[in-house]
Every structure is written in C-alpha cells, then in structure tokens.
Symmetry: C2
Subunit: 253 residues, 2 copies
C-alpha cells in the first residue's frame, strides 16, 4: 500500500444490520440475509459489528435504529417495505429521523415501469412513500425501491431483491482496509490446543485468532482462523499457529 | 380452556436470543441457531421478541445481555463457551450479573466423563468455569455444560450441542398460551390484496395478520398468515381473509 492509499482509505468502517420482521422472530421464515450481508461487507472492507432482529412494531424499530445508527458507520435494514399494512419500515425510519414521509414521484415513476396505472393501487403506492430527504435505491427485480437516509440503507426482505439492492448500494459506500483472513485445520480437538493457542494469541495482539470446532468423519476437529488488516502480522501469526499445531500433534502422536 | 388453565398459564412469556461470535459477524459461519430456537420457542408457547448478534468483546456482551434480560422473560445465548481464549461468554455473563466465576466441581465431574485426567488440561478446564450461583445445563453430545443464571440460559454455538441443551432446558421453562397460526396462499400478488387486507386487519385487531410475497413457477404469489392466541378469533379472521381473497380473485379474473 502506498502512502496516498493509506491516507485516503479509513482504517476501519463499521456497520450494523437491523432485520425487521415478525416472521423471522416466529421462526416461520428463516433469515437468509444476515449471513449474505455479513460476508459481502467483509469482502468490501466494512466491519459488521452488530445485528438486531426486531418485530414489526414502530417503537421497537425506531429505538433499535437510533441506537445502531449513532454507533456504527452504516446501518443496513432488511424487511418491511412491501405494499401491505404490516410493512411499517419506511414510516418507522421517518420517525427515527424526525422527518415527514411523503409519496415520492421518483418512486412512483419506478413503480410505473412495472405496473400499469390501473394496477398502481393504494397498496402498491404505499411502496412509494419515502421519508423526505432520502435517496432511492433501485430495485432491478421488482421495481419498488429501497432508500438511503443519513447512514441508513433500507432494503427489501426478499433475498433476491435485497441482494440486487446491495449491489447498487455497495459502490457508493466508503470502505476501510479489508480484514485479511487465513484458516488452518488443526487435525486436533479444540481442547487439545486451547492452552497453546492462547499463548500464540497473547504474542500476536494485533491479530484476531479464533478457533471453531467441527465434526468430521474422522471425529472432532478444529479450524483455527487468524484475521488482521496487516498482511505481515497475519503471516507471522499463522506461522506461529502452524508451528504450535505441529508441536501439539507431535505431543499427542 | 378451563378457568384453572387460564389462571395457571400466563398469557404471554417473552424471550430474546443473544448470539455471541465474531465468526457470525464476519460471515465466515452462517448462523443456524436463531431460526431453530425461534421455531422451537413458538411451538412451546414462548414469544421471541428480539435477537442480537454481538462480537467476542466482553463489554458488548455485558451491555447487550443486561439490556435483554431486564426486558424479556428469558434470554438464550449461543456461542463462546468452548475451551479457547476467545470463548469469553461465561466470564461476560458473570460480569453482567456481578458475580464471581469459579471452577465448578459439578462441571469438572461432567468433563471427567469424557476426558481422562491427563486430557483435562487448562484449556478444557476453562469449560468448567461457571458463574457462582448458576445451575448447569447438561450436554449429552460433548459433556461440557451450559448454564442457567437468573433468566439467562447460556448454550453452545455448535448447533447439535445447542439443540441438545435446549431439549434439556425446555421442560423447565414457564410457557404461555401458544400463538396459533394459519396460512393461506393468496394466488395473487401482494400489491393486489394489500388494500383489502389492511381493512381485514383493521376489523380483526386481536389477530396479527402478515403477508409474505414469494415467487412460484406460476409467478409472484403471497402467503397470508394470521396469528392469535384465541382460536375463535383466528378462525373468524381467516374466514374474512379467505372471503376477501375470493372477492379479489373474482375482480382480477
């Protein structure tokens, strides 16, 4: 990285996700968006710090959104922007920002690309009600837009639509230095390496080291993952982890 | 329901889930526990109201846990109770409750069922460090226990272990009147029915009515879901929804 890169790229950009929807909390619908957005943000250099799932209740949405948008660089919401009475995300975001919500002619125009005038009924026009001051997020799948206000990006809950919106939003975001990650399979149980791994972690304080147990056909095993924004520090930590694993394997064989 | 049933079963018991783990926030691991617990709680008559996912950072865990345990009847945590340095859930829960954490002889005995003395090393004994005053939750899969303190249930992040722990915990929980649910496939797009559905919802204020769009081979369609603790009110709302759907289908055909 050159000096000019370093000065123009912020070290850390943070984000949170707010999932809005009774159907996720009841278990009827299994969320597919959190994992997708988490991986997407990591890949573009944005660090996801927190996720909340709340019900379709305006005061809950407002409270969670205001808590998250003041703490993190970006907040991405999913769900609750459809045409029915239980879609209250846009109203709730307007309330959180203390701005009015109005029928947005730009959003009406987008809906008109899909729906002839006689189908642009009261319910569908709900999807064109946008907080004043927001920018629209195009929806290439079904036209009804998301929107961005302040550091909050309001997206659909249907995964295919959310993913299309995230592709639209991503190039406009400020991103930080990407976190690099490396993984090694231990060939040992987590408890076999825990003490020695803690020592490696202590010696490499700028590298985040995690261990994740899993079951393979050969029995319990562990993935050790090291993460850092500094490739040299990451390499040194991984070397130390691999040396440690070799020593522990030798002890147990 | 008889009068004595009504007096012994609380109407509403609420809960929250706190997922603890950097690996979920990075997208490296896709959570499989939230949807499972959500459905499980719904089925036994506990209403999941909120979910949070936080990083492996003690102050974040403490803050989220104290926020959730004061608001909801139960809090279920997943993740961070393994043998390595990044497993800080037990320490964080002890800090949230303001109690010491100590090596628990009951937990050591459980671990001894699986590990001979020469394998019960410092790392594995981390899994027997339990906040003082907590009750253990048996782990039939890999022995290392979860624990319950106050209204908080601390469970493993590995899905098979979490599920085994939840089966142990569930019979001990106070449960409320189950929310009954009924679903009808509209055969119409969400925007076709939104206005009329809002009117049905307005006429049935004690029934929660949601609509969930999906794509089928025949094109966009909608599931309409009604939920209520009162079977008669649920039946009446579903009748009204079906009448409305028939009327809307007739209009559009």
């Amino acid at each position: 990285m050159t000096a000019s890169d370093a000065s123009s790229t912020p070290a850390i950009v943070t984000a949170a996700i707010l999932v809005i929807g009774d159907e996720i909390l009841s278990g009827r619908t299994k969320d597919k968006n959190i994992g997708y957005i988490a991986e997407y943000l990591t890949n573009i250099g944005i660090e996801l710090r927190e996720v909340r799932i709340v019900a379709d209740v305006q005061e809950e949405i407002v409270s969670a959104l205001n808590g998250l948008r003041s703490r993190y660089g970006y907040v991405f919401t999913t769900g609750g922007i459809g045409p029915t009475h239980d879609d209250i995300t846009a109203d709730s975001v307007a309330a959180a920002f203390g701005v009015p919500i109005e029928l947005d002619p730009r959003a009406v125009a987008m809906l008109s690309e899909r729906f002839p005038a006689d189908q642009l009924n009261e319910a569908r026009l709900r999807m064109a009600r946008i907080p004043v001051g927001a920018e629209l997020i195009a929806n290439s799948v079904s036209k009804a837009p998301g929107f961005n206000i302040g550091n909050v990006y309001v997206m659909a809950g249907v995964p295919s639509i959310m993913q299309a919106m995230l592709d639209v939003v991503a190039p406009t975001l400020t991103t930080g230095v990407k976190i690099l990650s490396d993984t090694v399979r231990a060939g040992l149980r987590e408890g076999d390496i825990g003490t020695a791994l803690a020592e490696v972690a202590r010696m490499h304080p700028d590298v985040s080291i995690g261990s994740y147990p899993f079951f393979s056909d050969a029995g319990p095993d562990t993935n050790v993952v090291a993460r850092s924004r500094d490739p040299e520090k990451l390499r040194r930590a991984m070397d130390a982890i691999k040396d440690m694993l070799a020593a522990e394997q030798a002890k147990l064989s």
